[in-house]
């Protein structure tokens, strides 16, 4: 998902200093669904896992502004332009809420941004794919936001209070994102032949990357168990992916579009769709920096950060002057 690389849980240096008693008391709080708050005692590994997951989620929101932002100046109508701008703005807001949630764990936003820009921190692989036509904006809303929602709704119940509260706000605000995407697809599907072809092409390109958003298969994600025990994570990658496929395939059929998987079929016995294997090599390539747009996304982020340096400095200098004047 937006935090798909995260199944490598944080390692703990301080583990030795944590007594068995502390760890058990902590787990007992989690087991009774008590929320953990910022200043509460927590295992170092829990803190690190959260910092990693929340910051990765935040980075994904921020980098995720770019593929959609790519069509803001070219949106086909004023209404679509306003909707898309509001959506991209929400992503900035959600990045902000999430950075704030991570900051409560004792890491600065500056540090998180530095980790993103240095390549140390990851973000969702999905945002390294290009948006080539307007239909991609529809496909992103429908598929990418659809996949994100699957993951985010359980996160509203995450054991860490600040993260859970941020997710509740985010889910509430995002409720229109997927619907606007589907509406774009619906309009295209009912449009000219050119528009239909555009919609099919977008589905072809975004289907598999969307499935990869849920992260590696359960067999390959070693540390999920700890995240589950801590109630940071509530469902496994494969469970969520299956759920997504099950709800999305009928939506594609309604649009008259074909899901690009010739092995896709509904299994009456299990009540689930079966699908072809996912190309995990592509996933690991993109996650490790070798996707179509990785370089471009990072370059744009770095440029914004560099170009803004003198502005941030100026504001600080001005604030310092005013404080000094007041003190005088």
């Amino acid at each position: 998902m937006y935090t798909q690389g995260l199944d490598q849980a944080g390692k703990s240096d301080a583990a030795g200093a944590e007594t068995k008693q502390q760890l058990e008391a902590f787990q007992a709080r989690i087991d009774t669904e008590e929320k953990i708050e910022a200043k509460d005692w927590m295992p170092e590994a829990y803190r690190r896992t959260l910092i990693r997951q929340i910051s990765q989620h935040a980075h994904s929101e921020i980098i995720g502004m770019q593929p959609e932002g790519n069509w803001l100046t070219r949106a086909p109508t004023l209404k679509r332009k306003a909707i898309l701008l509001a959506k991209v703005q929400d992503e900035a807001g959600h990045g902000l809420y999430l950075y704030s949630a991570a900051e409560t764990l004792g890491i600065s936003r500056d540090q998180m941004v530095a980790d993103l820009l240095s390549g140390k921190a990851k973000y969702s692989s999905i945002f390294n794919y290009p948006t080539l036509t307007w239909a991609d904006i529809g496909a992103i809303g429908w598929l990418v936001d659809g996949a994100a929602i699957m993951n985010q709704i359980p996160l509203c119940r995450c054991s860490y209070g600040p993260y859970s509260r941020a997710m509740i706000r985010i889910c509430k605000e995002e409720s229109f994102h997927q619907r606007q995407g589907y509406e774009i697809m619906l309009t295209l599907a009912r449009g000219t032949d050119e528009q239909k072809a555009m919609a099919q092409d977008a589905l072809n390109r975004f289907w598999w990357p969307s499935l990869m958003m849920f992260g590696p298969s359960d067999a390959a994600s070693k540390h999920s168990a700890q995240s589950m025990a801590w109630k940071i994570k509530r469902f496994s990658n494969d469970e969520l992916r299956q759920k997504f496929i099950d709800v999305t395939v009928p939506q594609a059929e309604y649009l008259g579009l074909t899901v690009p998987d010739d092995k896709l079929r509904f299994n009456e016995e299990t009540g689930h769709y079966e699908h072809s294997d996912i190309d995990w090599q592509e996933f690991f390539d993109v996650i490790s920096g070798n996707g179509p747009c990785n370089e471009q996304r990072m370059a744009k982020r770095r440029k914004a950060q560099d170009d803004g340096a003198w502005v941030r400095e100026a504001a600080k200098a001005y604030a310092a002057k005013k404080l000094a004047e007041e003190a005088a």
Binding site: L78, R80, Q89, W310
Partner: protein, 252 residues
């Protein structure tokens, strides 16, 4: 020109200012100096796009030939856009876009405020909504101008340069043409001489708070109100109109 024809062109012109500035601000998305500023910029761009939609829709209604907001926004040739040259200027750096915002918004607040009292009810209603939005934008942009002007040596120098560079586009705001005159005479519209005087005072106050120098009035560029644009404009339109021009008549 009949009063009605002048009103329609006046409203369209206002819509053009909102749309083109909104489009420029949209180009800044994902490039702001800080995350919080990203949200602010998008809020203001949304306000401007919203204003353009209201104004174009109203112009289309008054015109009565079936044109809607998107016909005005996307399907006119370059010379039919009558925005001020100031708003189409490229974003440049944060100092440039801040100065552009201060110069335009301090004018637009005065103009819209006068229009809330104009004789055309429809336009007065739109102005009443828009003026609240722009008043907040101006608060934001002028606070930033003060921070930049009175911030570091570098920010001071950069912003003074922005102010000097953009000053030549301010004369056009107050150059009254036939449409402005008809608006004033027939619809109790704004007196641009009065607006100019108020604007000068307001801008002088902000610039002085920012410890910057008000540039000398030199040569002033003009042409936007007649549809003669700067070279930047064609590229802006190419982006803006791309979909509508590539797929004529399609529904989105």
């Amino acid at each position: 020109m009949t009063p009605d024809a002048a009103l329609i062109r006046y409203v369209t012109r206002l819509g053009d200012n909102s749309l083109i500035l909104g489009q420029r601000m949209i180009e800044l998305v994902a490039a702001s100096p800080e995350l919080e500023e990203e949200l602010a910029n998008a809020n203001f761009a949304l306000d401007y796009i919203g204003q353009a939609r209201m104004l174009y829709t109203y112009a289309g209604e008054r015109e009565g030939r079936g044109r809607g907001e998107d016909d005005f926004a996307f399907l006119r040739p370059e010379h039919e856009y009558r925005n001020l040259l100031l708003v189409e200027q490229p974003n440049g750096h944060f100092g440039d876009s801040t100065v552009r915002a201060v110069l335009f918004e301090s004018f637009y607040v005065l103009l819209l405020d006068a229009l809330t009292r104009c004789g055309d009810e429809g336009l007065a209603g739109i102005a009443a909504r828009a003026v609240k939005e722009v008043r907040y934008h101006l608060k934001h942009s002028s606070q930033w101008l003060v921070r930049l002007g009175d911030g570091t040596e570098e920010s001071h120098a950069r912003t003074q340069q922005s102010l000097n560079d953009l000053w030549r586009y301010t004369g056009e705001m107050f150059a009254s043409d036939d449409i402005d005159k008809i608006m004033r005479d027939e619809f109790d519209g704004p007196d641009l001489n009065v607006v100019a005087e108020q604007w000068r005072k307001a801008v002088a106050a902000i610039v002085s708070a920012a410890t910057l120098e008000l540039p000398e009035d030199g040569w002033m560029a003009s042409g936007g109100k007649d549809g003669r644009h700067t070279e930047h404009f064609g590229f802006l339109l190419a982006d803006l109109q791309y979909m509508q021009r590539t797929y004529p008549g399609a529904t989105w």
